[in-house]
Structure formats: structure tokens, C-alpha cells
């Protein structure tokens, strides 16, 4: 499935979120520990500086020409603008994941996102754990992206994509 928000018209600036059936998805067979470790001591260094064995470098050619993306399906956003003291709330589409549905609502005030609420997240058992992990960090990320503090997160997850997808559609509906 490819989902390209409507911003990709002829030219755009912004974010395109695409869900690709890419490179598989390993079966989660080990859950994250429920440890609450408080990241204690700091050990700097531990490294040696650059040596020799460089195998880095060139990547070869890929001559498969791009034949364009497949079906680009616009997300079926269900706008639900409801004015509330100068702010607008827009609800993104429900996006299915293997863990369950994900749906977010954004509150926009004077052109800025002031709140992002997860209306639906996977719940129960393992899925619940996943959503608990996935939601807050993206909430902060999406907000902080506006203030240009964090642009992206390394080590992100599958569920986060659906969150982004619903969020992006909601933002598009809100005209952000």
C-alpha cells in the first residue's frame, strides 16, 4: 500500500509518509523488558579512533529505472472540524496495523498544532505495550518538530507509521 497525502500534487514542501511492504517484518518473539532502569552512570569514550580496515565506501549502480510508484491512494480523512474557543479539531483516518487500529485527532489553533490525541491505539496484551511505547514519543516528536527541535527518531517502529499516517491526513485536512 502506498499512501501519499495530497500535498504531493506537483511540488510541495513537507512530509510524505508512505507505508511500504518492504523487507518483511520479523516476528516479534521477544518482548521488551518491563525494566524501569533509570539510566545511571555515564561512561564516555570506549572507542578507539579511526584505524584502517575501511570497507566503507562505494555503493554500486542500480540500473533498474524507476517506473514510478504504484497506486497512490489518498487517505480517506474524515474531517470533523469542531470549533472550540478559536481552535479547530480534525480527526484523521483510522489506519490499520497488525496490532490494531490507530487514529489521531489534532487540535489546531491559529495555524499551529496545539494538541495531538490518540483516539484509537491497539490495546490488550502485547499490542497495548506497543502502543504505550509508540504513542507518547510521537506525540512529542510531532509537537517538537514544529519548534524544530527533533526532526526524526532513529529506532522507530511499525506502529508509529500508522500514527504518522493518520496524523498526516489530519494535518492535511486542517490545512497545516
Amino acid at each position: 500500500m502506498i499512501v501519499i497525502p495530497r500535498r504531493a500534487a506537483t511540488a510541495f514542501v513537507g512530509t510524505v509518509v508512505v507505508v511500504l511492504l518492504l523487507f518483511g517484518f520479523k516476528t516479534p518473539d521477544q518482548s521488551i523488558g518491563a525494566t524501569t532502569g533509570g539510566s545511571a552512570g555515564v561512561v564516555a569514550d570506549g572507542g578507539t579512533t579511526s584505524g584502517s580496515t575501511g570497507s566503507s565506501g562505494g555503493t554500486g549502480p542500480s540500473d533498474t529505472g524507476a517506473s514510478g510508484a504504484g497506486s497512490a491512494t489518498a487517505p480517506t480523512a474524515t474531517p470533523a472540524p469542531s470549533a472550540a474557543s478559536g481552535s479547530t479539531q480534525v480527526t484523521g483516518p483510522t489506519v490499520s496495523t497488525r496490532y490494531g487500529p490507530v487514529q489521531v485527532r489534532v487540535t489546531v489553533s491559529q495555524g499551529k498544532v496545539t494538541e495531538i490525541t490518540a483516539l484509537q491505539l491497539p490495546s490488550g496484551g502485547r499490542s497495548g505495550r506497543i502502543s504505550e511505547v509508540a504513542e507518547p514519543i510521537l506525540h512529542d516528536e510531532a509537537l517538537s518538530a514544529q519548534s524544530a527541535q527533533i526532526d526524526s527518531v532513529s529506532g522507530a517502529t511499525y506502529t508509529s507509521g500508522a500514527y504518522e499516517q493518520s496524523l498526516q491526513a489530519a494535518l492535511d485536512q486542517a490545512g497545516i
Partner: protein, 251 residues
């Protein structure tokens, strides 16, 4: 099921065709390399239905690089044993390589400033805004609303290996047992293919993997240990915006 790829493009006036080409390329790579498609070249190679000499140039190229990585890592990266049932799975290199290759479509279209995040593996080109590098947070392994560190990157790539909630534990191909000692390991360097593969190999090596990463010019690493320490290579300082052991809140 799949990898989520997001693109953040800061250039004005880049044609949508270029964006389509990026994702089109990723689909083509997936068709050749996916271990989840029985008809992919890699799947056929893995079960002996295709001779390596009959594979496409791309597949042969990737297999050659994977062999180079296997030797370089002393077997800690081993595409020949990475898959289910110990079958061929070059994904540890292919994903990053494919994203880099796809990004060239944007370069060709005149884009300078963009960020691609493919399932937590990041290619950051140019700057987020004039004079400001891209800020890439490294997820904290068990505090969901936190990042353990923030890197500032210009024209670089960042990849993290670890368990996180997806829980796909990383097996040490040398022993067949799950790798122990680290909760996550992040590598930063020039090209995502190697950055991603180094992160996979170094995670398996444990703390020794940090020093191994640093033997590769232009590459640095940060690890979070099982006992919640942050450990990093000396040269990482130029990327590290924050991350001093205490979890750093986003925003």
C-alpha cells in the same frame, strides 16, 4: 506489515515525480530482495532455486558487499545466516542501501535538504533549515516518551539496532544465540547501507563493537548497555547535541 518510510523535503519546487521515483525504487528493490516474497530473487537463491551466477546485477552486487561485511565483522554480520531457518537474508544491508539509492532520485531532481526515515533508519541530506543540522533523536530503550540522545547530522545517516518494542531480537550468527550486553547500538556515518550493517554487526559484538565501528573512517557509534549506561566512541562528540546519561526529554 512493512517498513514505514517517511520523507521530509525542505526544498521548494521538487516535482512529485521525483518523490514517486523514490518509492518506486524501493518497491523494485523489495521485489528482488524480500525474504517474504517466495518469488523474489533472494528467496529463490535461499532455497537453491536460483544460481548466484544467474542473479541480477543488483543482487550480485549486494551479495558481494554482504560477503565483504561478513569478513570485515568476523562473522558478526552474516547475510547467509540472517534469515529464518538460517537462510539468506541480506536485509541488514539492503534496506539502507536501497534508501540511499532511492535518494539519488531526489538529488537528480535538484533536492538538497531532505530527510528519509525508513523504519527508524535515517538518511539526512543537507540541513533541516539554513544553518541548522537535522536533529535525530535516539530512542530511549525503556522510557517511551524520551530519547536517550540527540544527534545533529548534516549529510549523513543514522541507524539503530536494538530490541525496542518490536522485539525482533538479534541473533549472533556466530553462535545462533541472541546477542547480549547491549540494549541498543546506534551508528552514524556517511551511507545508510553500511551504517545499518555496522549497527547490526556491532550490536552483536557488544561493547567491543563500538571500537570496531570506529575503525571505519567516518563512522561513530553510541551504545546503551544492559545496565543502562551510555557509551560512545570518541569521535561521536561532534554529532552529539545531548545525551549525557540522563534521559533527555523530547521537546
Amino acid at each position: 506489515m512493512g517498513t514505514v518510510v517517511s520523507l521530509e523535503l525542505r526544498d521548494q519546487g521538487i516535482p512529485a515525480d521525483a518523490v514517486d521515483a523514490v518509492f518506486g525504487h524501493l518497491h523494485e528493490v523489495d521485489a528482488r530482495f524480500s525474504t517474504y516474497r517466495p518469488d523474489s530473487e533472494v528467496s529463490r537463491l535461499g532455497r537453491g532455486a536460483l544460481e548466484p551466477s544467474a542473479a541480477s546485477a543488483e543482487v550480485r552486487h549486494v551479495l558481494a558487499v554482504c560477503e565483504q561485511l561478513r569478513r570485515d565483522s568476523g562473522g558478526a554480520f552474516d547475510a547467509g545466516r540472517a534469515g529464518r531457518d538460517g537462510r539468506l537474508d541480506p536485509s541488514g544491508y539492503v534496506k539502507g542501501w536501497a534508501v540511499e539509492e532511492a535518494a539519488w532520485r531526489l538529488d537528480d531532481a535538484g533536492a538538497h535538504d531532505y530527510l528519509i526515515n525508513a523504519g527508524g533508519d535515517v538518511v539526512a541530506r543537507g540541513e533541516a533549515s539554513p544553518g541548522h543540522r537535522w536533529r535525530v533523536g535516539i530512542r530511549h530503550p525503556d522510557q517511551p516518551d524520551k530519547v536517550a540522545a540527540v544527534f545533529a547530522v548534516r549529510d549523513g545517516a543514522v541507524a539503530t539496532s536494538g530490541t525496542y518494542e518490536r522485539g525482533d531480537h538479534i541473533v549472533d550468527p556466530r553462535t545462533g544465540q541472541p546477542a547480549r550486553g547491549l540494549r541498543s547500538l546506534t551508528v552514524v556515518g556517511p551511507r545508510l547501507g553500511f551504517v545499518d550493517a555496522y549497527a547490526t554487526a556491532a550490536f552483536v559484538m557488544g561493547l567491543a563493537g563500538l571500537a570496531w565501528v570506529a575503525t571505519h573512517p567516518g563512522h561513530e557509534a553510541l551504545a546503551i548497555t544492559d545496565d543502562d549506561r551510555l557509551v560512545w566512541t570518541e569521535g561521536l562528540a561532534r554529532y552529539l547535541v545531548s545525551g549525557t546519561g540522563a534521559a533527555t526529554a523530547l521537546g
